[in-house]
Symmetry: C2
Subunit: 245 residues, 2 copies
């Protein structure tokens, strides 16, 4: 095996090379490279950020999946959204002050670490990148809007169909084609849909019976993406040139 550098230089970032992302100037990459203070690796199940804590950092996902969630005092948990390679984590909620949600690794994870404190530098020195940050925030909002519609107004079957179509959509755009399966278990699905695990199981079974998905150990294979979208009355995420930091 050849020796590899421990951390990826942003100028060689594998993610920037992907089709889904926009092209970046040399100067921008240099700045990002400087902005990046390190990398973090975490195993599946590890907690990256916890609600109520003050975090000095902001992360970008290099590889793997994570999810954001909130909990009520008695333990009820709601998963808010998932984060895939290229996603910014830690921007949601207040820019300053305590975290309003927790973040957990869904698979083993590699993250780029940035200092929140230096976020303002982006705004003063690199307006284009600053605009990107806002763009990313707006995109997250759009997704949260969809989730809200889903949980609020769709039936259990429609909700499940929406979620799996959504995750499949995100996975296939994230440039990890190796992963044919969505790395979630039924507990995760339940906590995202706002359902009990038992009912989630029965609902997923219906989707499986209709040959829309196949359930595996701790993961889900989507067999009929369009079929799921149709059940959920969902259009899909736009095919866009995402920015990325």
């Amino acid at each position: 095996m050849s020796t590899k550098p421990k951390t990826v230089d942003c100028r060689d970032c594998p993610i920037h090379k992907l089709q889904t992302f926009r092209n970046f100037e040399k100067a921008e990459l240099n700045f990002i490279s400087d902005f990046k203070t390190g990398e973090l690796s975490a195993d599946a199940g590890a907690t990256i950020l916890v609600e109520g804590a003050h975090s000095a950092h902001l992360f970008t996902i290099l590889s793997g999946w994570a999810f954001r969630y909130k909990m009520l005092e008695d333990g009820r948990r709601q998963i808010l959204n998932f984060a895939l390679p290229g996603d910014l984590v830690g921007l949601q909620g207040s820019l300053e002050g305590e975290m309003q949600h927790s973040v957990e690794a869904l698979t083993s994870l590699r993250l780029c670490v940035f200092e929140k404190q230096r976020l303002r530098e982006i705004f003063t020195n690199h307006p284009e990148l600053a605009y990107d940050v806002t763009w990313i925030a707006a995109r997250e909002e759009r997704i949260l809007d969809e989730h809200l519609l889903s949980i609020g107004r769709r039936s259990a079957l429609e909700r499940a169909a929406y979620l799996l179509a959504f995750l499949q959509n995100r996975a296939s755009a994230s440039g990890e084609p190796a992963k044919r399966y969505l790395p979630v278990n039924q507990q995760h699905v339940a906590d995202t849909l706002g359902l009990s695990t038992v009912h989630t199981n029965k609902t997923l079974r219906k989707l499986a019976d209709r040959k829309l998905i196949r359930w595996r150990e701790r993961s889900c294979e989507v067999l009929d993406h369009k079929g799921l979208m149709k059940i959920a009355d969902w259009e899909g995420l736009g095919r866009e040139n995402r920015p990325f930091i």
Copy 2:
């Protein structure tokens, strides 16, 4: 009656004077004033923006309440969030491309109109304001996170308590103290909570029986704010120095 100018000059903006908002530089106000292209008035029930359309504009609420919502094909509606004086409308969802949600006036409404196209100018010329835009987006995300937790994991009673506490919180920070009542009807509450109107009615009745609220025609009076927060296990929004554009 004395004659009034049709539009408010940003330098005299009544909202900037409120305590909740941060202080602004002269240069910033001048820029905002230039950025503003007009005002728009709308009656309660009027549609400001519609899902699927391309809007060239961005709005700030001068007075009155509005709400954002999405609909499924068969007519089911989900209210995503409310907008009060000082809130930015139209930023949510994609910065470019079609609207992903609609916006409707809840009360009679006055809006400042900005051109989306010129948003980039903010980023190149006024980094502080650009940072504010991002701050505002992050705040909206935090609120959407709360709503997701609520709809996904709280019972009907807890959800209603959360929503009314939330609206009361927002109302009292928005500098319209004249309005002691929240200007929503039970249909709005139902569509926000993801419940039927009938069940919403029965749930609100329980809150009223416990002397937490009193229901009026097309509006709600909150009698015990803390009681609502306790039922919902909700901490409230931070008392922050909001930016504003």
